[in-house]
């Protein structure tokens, strides 16, 4: 098969995942943390599709499709929580959003 080797794709997926992880750990803005999580989910999707193609699993594509659905549902609820948080506290820092603790 004249194609790019599989570990190119998986390494790229690991790289994207790591960049997303940096964003999740480092950022304070909840929307940016959300976007970094989407980035990590995308990297996982990419490795699913890579294995589906190179190891001849059809299932990888179905998993990736369901994963995109889960990401969509997560965004709808998570961003609604963030919008509600902004509305009640007018605060931009997730580290300051500790309403449950007090």
């Amino acid at each position: 098969m004249t194609d790019v080797p599989m570990f190119y794709y998986t390494t790229l997926a690991a790289l994207l995942f790591s960049i997303g992880a940096v964003g999740v750990i480092v950022k304070r803005n909840p929307i940016l943390i959300f976007m970094s999580i989407e980035l990590m989910l995308n990297a996982v999707n990419l490795s699913f599709i890579t294995y589906s193609r190179y190891l001849h699993f059809l299932e990888g594509q179905v998993y990736a499709f369901l994963l995109i659905t889960v990401a969509a549902a997560e965004v709808a609820v998570g961003l609604a929580i963030i919008v509600a948080l902004f509305r009640s506290k007018r605060e931009v820092d997730v580290d300051a959003a500790s309403l449950m603790k007090e």
Binding site: I19, L32, Q61, V77, V92
Partner: protein, 180 residues
């Protein structure tokens, strides 16, 4: 230029686009620029999906991620004005530890990847020959649709319940009477 060269060119182009887009999400100061950079990254991943013979997933990526999720994120930015102010520090105290942990993760994963011998090397097909032939000849969307409905019908229904939960949760959290 042979077809293999062309695939390599596509791969490196999309890889550069995806990495630059992902870095832009984390590095850029203006959150709206981060969103635009994220859209570039998502398009590059859709390009990979086309290269990997998953064109249905590429379309789904563009329709759901770029067309709906990023729009929702832009709406959330619109609803939170203070987020763009210059005097707000964007990062917390864990910049260096975060980068170190992620780099350690990347290096570990890389060594796992290069030291694993995948089943690809043993030439064991996981599904029958006719299905392999069918997935070469038929439309990718048809194959995914068949697999989704015939084999994965329970996850399919669970996905609808998940969407129902997302709809109800989102409406309950975001809809208030006093906005009227």
């Amino acid at each position: 230029m042979s077809p293999a060269d062309l695939i390599a060119i596509y791969f490196y182009f999309f890889a550069a686009l995806a990495i630059l887009g992902a870095l832009g999400v984390v590095v850029l100061r203006n959150i709206f620029h981060s969103v635009l950079s994220m859209i570039v990254c998502l398009f590059a991943v859709a390009g990979f999906f086309v290269l990997l013979n998953a064109e249905f997933l590429a379309a789904v990526q563009v329709i759901i991620y770029v067309g709906a999720i990023m729009v929702l994120i832009i709406f959330a930015i619109l609803l939170s004005t203070r987020i763009m102010r210059r005097d707000i520090v964007q990062t917390n105290a864990y910049v260096l530890p975060g980068i170190i942990v992620s780099l350690a993760f990347l290096v570990t994963t890389f060594f796992v990847i290069i030291s694993t011998r995948f089943v690809e090397d043993y030439h064991v097909p996981f599904y029958p020959a006719w299905l392999a032939e069918a997935s070469e000849k038929l439309d990718n969307t048809m194959i995914v649709g068949w697999s989704l409905m015939a084999t994965y019908s329970l996850p399919f229904e669970i996905a609808s319940i998940l969407l129902l939960m997302a709809l109800i949760g989102g409406v309950v959290l975001a809809h208030r009477k006093e906005d009227d």
